[in-house]
Symmetry: C2
Subunit: 591 residues, 2 copies
């Protein structure tokens, strides 16, 4: 059976007079005195079809979202009834044959309204949600984006190589997702957090340009923008360095932005060092669609008599300020900022409002000299109405607190600009609140200077870089360590004992001992990128079948219980307390 | 640091006189009286570089597979020392600067020899195995193949949509690979055996053309050509039927064969029905690179007095014969065939050898009339020396036994031809040895005739089809059921109770109730296809990091034990007997 010979969305006035066969869904049905007007929707678009119920016995049963096939003649719509909002709005198809291919029961929600459907309901009926233009457009954009990525890299000579997804568990960073092995009872695979070590092995193996759109897994407590599984564009190359990686990723982004958004990005993307980014914007992923820079005021208060400032400077801290503009906050609104700053770890926050006469209104204004006030006004370019926020604290705290306020007060809404930015020169390590050193990126990034790393690990710089788009981290990469001795040194600084390093990474360090080429790479989160390109606040909107924040798929009901004999085959059992809790829940459910 | 400005494999005599910088590996080192000749190998090929050890202090330490960077002038090789086997064999590079980028310890096996390295050793050092031309060429071919697939489908308007890999366990066919959930303690995800139901939901959702290269998982007892995880090209479309699917897959295969092998495939591929394939070739995946057809001899023996034949016919069986040619088997070799046939389930096997005078030598010849012998000779086109094999049994047994002998005696070796074939009209169900009906393909394939399926399920034909290449099944597909009532009927025939159907597939059958379009699709195993294109007998050769038949990765040592606290977080524990066995093994290991 043929269902159609013409695509509904492509009909124009040029087609008038043609007899066509169309197939799709009855998106809207309007019965107007013995004539039915049906919006027939399919992947290419919508066209109006006109049905005379007297001639078509099936017409009476037709309801919204029935799947139909129609034949008929394309006609110009009567003058005055054209629909300029519809690409096919000048024509309609007068139906001579109608087939209902498939009926639909009543819908759980209306498909033609974007708003106001609870997300859980949308996910429960994702296959209906997909018929709405929003999800359809998002998944279409995602397909276009990955096609562009692959095209650019294939043309540049990269090989698309699949790495395994049932791998060895080498816990680092996030929790591994574990998979019990049936053939090796008691042993487990892990699903990969990234293809990191395998792509490095591909470099050892002599594949000099690799890419993959790789499925990765992280068992974290879900945040709104994380999923248990996600995909990343993963690249790696040998005999190249940072700038080669950056140029390659820029070429990919140019193609993606062109194909998805129709815009031409200017390259090279601007670069900031990690330190600059923190100092000027209070974050390692600044949104540069707006300026609002943090100013260092320490020098202006070097001789201050204001105790809070003086003692911060004495103990090696800084004084930094941010002009968030004329935000129009009340006294209580301003005081609430102080609480926010304290919650973020700061000892306090000083707020000042610039009065119409240029004077400063603030609980602490009286403690500052006229010179100090003038310097502050100048450094922060204060104008009447502006709110000035000042933190005197350790540099890291000052950056974090002011960075948050910058984002809160500065971020543009409904803003189409794409602001790409490289942040480079990340530290090798970062300190946990407990004072331990952990890998800032991952333990395979090369330090700029090995000696320096050994003597001053806490401040050593890595050849590591992030790509930031509109204030979101899109991805990160680094030049990798290709010297096995340097790799061992990093493990040592991280407090990984030689035994533990051998157990977790021995196979990898051994591989480095066979003539490993210098190499470097990058990974970009696909959903994050596409969600920003599509103006979607949540990555779930660009995933075909996402899970909720608790890892549940409301459509299929996964995860779900399995029979004990399946677990027995895998050599595992539920823990007694888990089994008991389930039995109890099942029991109370039966009451 | 720049490592190179020129690719080694691209140097020709035109480059003579140029100063170039190259990077790669020292594949061979020949020290000839104070001059070192090094084959520098990188991804594009090999070039000879000439090093004067007197001028380069590092030269002395240079060993095979060291990673190096050299600068030097391209020179024509002295007359008579050109290497015509090497694309760069007319030139060499006289090294003025040598940098050892990375040393290599002694290799566990020689990289320049293809044969004779144990596969376990190759997998243990896969990153070295990859430097050999065989694995390198295979993974390159695989990358080219998937790029061709994606290009053809993207140009044809298919959307690349990712489906989830942490899904609901709906046991069918192979065992699910299970993944314990941490956020829903006691529940499990499954890794997908295929994206089948999700791609059908995408059709319900209005995406009319979908493709994905999808990672799939099957926890079977490994056969030599199966892996726990594998990738398939997965497509699905709405408002189309079988022939549209076949044409699309043919276009994909044409592009793949062109890009990987440089050959033009003729289309359309030939088609056989399932029944024809079984009758004529004894298998549903016949290798048509050679003829050797099975002949039905039943009519010729309708009135036979030979008991074994007569009783087979009486009980509804068939008599079929195969001429396997002049195989030159001895009497004991021929008798061994009888044993093979019995092991395959046949009551027996009749062999006959055509003598030089045209008479038949066989233990049973004396029971056959002259007419019967003549008919048999004609039907099997016997010529002197030919071995004729005859089975009198149920049709299924006769097909299976003769199909195996056909493959054994007919399959060509080292044969470059690509013989694609469609096998269509598969049955909806097949009978297990126990007499149960199971889905021949999967329970979502549409029957040709719903009435017929309901009344005669055992013989009903499905709109299902396989693609066969050189006797291997590359993939399969079908027109799907889009009517929820037909879907329920299939579950019913399969003996899946309404309750069980609801629990396992309720969410899916519900989706079918919302105006599901007619749809059809296909899936192609990537590794199988590429292994045949590359002439590799085993799919492990076209997988970057394959596992052994027991699911072990000899490189990383996965699967591996994990800490009990990791299991505790997942609400599971090893079964006591598994734990005990491990403890005992660990204990005896410590002795």
């Amino acid at each position: 059976m043929n269902y159609r010979d013409t695509r509904a969305g492509e009909l124009t006035r040029e087609d008038a007079g043609r007899t066509v066969q169309l197939a799709g869904w009855a998106a809207r049905i309007r019965d107007q005195g013995g004539v039915m007007f049906v919006d027939l929707r399919e992947a290419t678009g919508v066209v109006q079809v006109v049905i005379d119920p007297a001639s078509h016995s099936q017409a009476e049963s037709l309801r919204r979202e029935f799947c139909i096939s129609v034949s008929g003649e394309v006609s110009l719509r009567p003058a005055g009834s054209e629909n300029p909002d519809l690409p096919t709005g000048e024509v309609e198809v007068v139906v001579s044959e109608l087939h209902i291919l498939s009926a639909s029961q009543a819908l759980p929600f209306q498909l033609d309204e974007r708003a106001d459907v609870d997300e859980l309901v949308r996910l429960r009926y994702r296959y209906l949600d997909m018929r709405r233009s929003r999800v359809a457009a998002n998944l279409r954009a995602r397909s276009v984006a990955v096609a562009a990525m692959r095209r650019v890299l294939t043309e540049a000579g990269f090989l698309d190589i699949e790495t395994p997804t049932l791998i060895k568990s080498t816990p680092e960073g996030a929790r591994d997702v574990l998979v019990p092995s049936r053939l090796q009872l008691g042993d487990f695979y892990a699903l990969p957090q990234s293809p990191q070590l395998f792509k490095q092995l591909l470099m050892v193996g002599g594949f000099e340009r690799y890419f993959q759109i790789a499925r990765c897994y992280r068992d974290e407590d879900f945040r709104s923008d994380r999923q248990l599984e996600f995909s990343q564009l993963d690249i790696e190359g040998s005999f190249w360095g940072r700038d080669d990686v950056l140029a390659t990723i820029e070429a990919v982004m140019v193609a993606v932005a062109r194909d998805v958004r129709g815009v031409e990005l200017a390259t090279p993307f601007p670069r900031l060092t990690y330190q600059e980014a923190l100092d000027r914007y209070g974050t390692d992923k600044p949104d540069l669609r707006f300026a609002m820079e943090i100013a260092d005021l320490s020098d202006h208060f070097a001789a201050t008599e204001f105790n809070a400032f003086a003692s911060a400077l004495e103990s090696g801290g800084v004084i930094r300020g941010l002009n968030v503009g004329a935000a129009g906050l009340s006294r209580s609104g301003l005081d609430a900022l102080v609480d926010d700053a304290k919650q973020a770890g700061a000892a306090g926050l000083v707020w000042m409002v610039v009065e119409d006469d240029g004077s400063l209104r603030s609980p602490v204004a009286k403690f500052l000299s006229a010179d100090e006030q003038a310097a502050l006004m100048e450094a922060l370019a204060g104008t009447p109405g502006d709110h000035l926020l000042i933190v005197a604290d350790r540099a890291r705290i000052a950056a974090e607190v002011l960075g948050r306020f910058r984002t809160r007060f500065g971020s543009p809404e409904g803003h189409d600009e794409l602001n790409f930015l490289w942040v480079v020169d990340f530290p090798v390590f970062e300190e946990t609140p407990g004072g331990e050193l952990v890998a800032a990126h991952h333990p395979f990034s090369a330090p700029v200077d090995v000696e320096d790393m050994a003597t001053s690990p806490a401040t050593a710089i890595a050849q590591a870089y992030d790509l930031v788009l509109n204030g979101s981290e899109l991805g990160s990469g680094s030049v990798r360590i290709h010297d096995p001795d340097v790799q061992q040194k990093v493990f040592e600084i991280l407090g990984i004992s030689p035994d533990e390093a051998e157990r977790r990474f021995g196979w990898f360090v051994e591989a480095l001992r066979y003539g490993t080429p210098p190499h470097a790479g990058f990974a970009v989160g696909i959903a994050r990128l596409v969600s920003i390109l599509q103006g979607e606040p949540n990555i779930r909107e660009v995933i075909a079948f996402p899970k909720t924040q608790t890892g549940v798929d409301p459509l299929t009901g996964s995860p779900s219980p399995v029979d004990d004999h399946q677990l027995a085959e895998l050599g595992i059992a539920l823990r007694p307390e888990v089994q008991a809790a389930r039995d109890e829940a099942a029991g109370s459910g039966a009451d």
